[in-house]
Amino acid sequence: MKISNLIRIAWRALFRNKIRTFLTMLGIIIGVASVISMIAIGQGSKQSIQKQITAMGSNMIIIRPVSNLMGGARMDNSSVQTLTVSDVKALEKQVSTINGVSGSVSSRGQIINGPYNWSTTVQGVSPSYLSIRGWTLAEGIPFNSQDVKLASKVCLIGQTLVKNLFPNGENVLGQRIRFKRIPFKIIGILNRKGENTFGQDQDDVLLTPLSTVQKRILSTIYYQTIFASAVEENATELAASDIQRVLRRNHKLQKEVEDDFTVRTQAELIRTFSSTSQTLTLLLTVIASISLIVGGIGIMNIMYVSVTERTREIGLRMSLGARSMDLLLQFLIEAIMISISGGLIGVVLGISVSKSVSYFMHWPILITQSSVLISFLVCFVTGVFFGYYPALKASRMNPITALRYE
């Protein structure tokens, strides 16, 4: 028996019952389409969450001093004086897994522009801070190392400040605002970033050169925080341990002495979010898989009906010389053909559904090759699995009784 003949026989049999074949296929079509679109939506949301975290600075590493004990009481972090310019220089030189370091000091207070005022934090940073956070400017230019050297009275402000200090929509660039009697010239406006995942307004910021805050406002040589960014997301843990090693050496800490600083990464945050969206994807996939199984049961059901209904045909084929194996294969191929062509249509439908979801509802989607491949494979297996028993039933018929079946 040639397999090509069997395929021809199966094809003719399916073609004779176009509507039934299509309806049976529909179960598989819907199953595959939902698996593919659900995975696309799940993966898409996972990817978009990851992007958001990266935008927040997923490779960002935050170094803070550890407050020391004063008579049994932990002191405030900001009072601790351990992080200095020499630490930043050491990190810049000795840690290859980071591509940006910035010290940071901040002070809270009122910002005043004529009749308007707003309470915010003035943060002194170095020029590399913007790239560490992944922040960009909507207008103007950033300050440079010259500004840091001169402790220039320039600043970059976020959208919240623009809204509250310049409510009349006038041109902001070049204007001066005051903080503790010091006038700051606005040289740049940051792009809107919205709230971060914790509900914190990321647009309520005022950035000035580090030295400006150190010299003109706080009169300190120490840093409250050092921000650094790892070269890539996966390297954050490595970078963190490198930083720890370099800082310990720079602080001349003995082996048994505890760190006088902490190094924090965003890895934990990413892990939490990844696992959440992983769970979401899993959940969606399970639901979609159930519909695929229901589709498979549909195939099995129809194949059973088909075998019973075509008992005489089976008897006839046997009398014409079909062997049991030929009939087993014929019905198996019919089931596989239904599931595979259903699978193909399902893949196309699934991709179109995903695309239209992203187009009309603006949901992020991600169609992966593996999801298409896996659902297609599952289709084939479904066809074989659910087609086998009906096919076996057909192949085990007695030709005499089958021919006389009414």
Partner: protein, 254 residues
Amino acid sequence: MEATVVRIQHLVREFSMGGETFKALNDISLTINSGEFITIMGSSGSGKTSLLNILGCLDQASSGDYFLEGVNVNQLSKNELAQIRNRKLGFIFQSYNLLARTSALENVELPLLYNPDVSAKERTEKAKAALDAVHLSDRMNYLPSQLSGGQQQRVAIARALINDPLLILADEATGNLDSKTSYGIMMLLQELNTVQGKTIVFVTHEMDIASFSKRTITLRDGRIISDTINTNVRNAKELLANGFETSELKTETK
């Protein structure tokens, strides 16, 4: 020329029903030579269908021997039986058993789909030739539902002819047809028998139909009670040309 096609010796077929065994065929012995046209007659329960099933290699005897072209069929496996059915036998059924929504040509091709030695081209050629032999070459793309009963049965005959069988087995092949159409089928079978020399075994319970064959075997309770050569074989073609027309007219004028 008269080669032995079938040799059956002391053949018994037993069935057990409700703990009791009964013999559907009881010690049957017969020989069929090439070119014969035999009818097997008998009332229902006489064993004629059981005999046909065994002749058609759909069933095997409980005891005794059945040699088809010298091969002892009783000792063959299921797959070997299937191959014999495919290569050496042709079946014609009472209810035609054509595949619905499948063209006449594809229906006729069907047996050759189970023969890997036949190419697609050869298959179509043979199917066309077989349809030509039953005078249906102008209907090869018709579906069974578009054909009359007689035409459907002729498609079935073409299907039985396509593998050039050693033996054609017909089971009440005219049972669903009116007399005139039945005679048409008998005419075709007589033609195949005399012109092409096909060996035909025809199971029927109608005396009328049996009179077209050359030999009649009558069964009762699983035994052969008579095996006679017909001296007065009726010719279906002549009958259709003259006699049948007039007899039909007579019934109409009544």
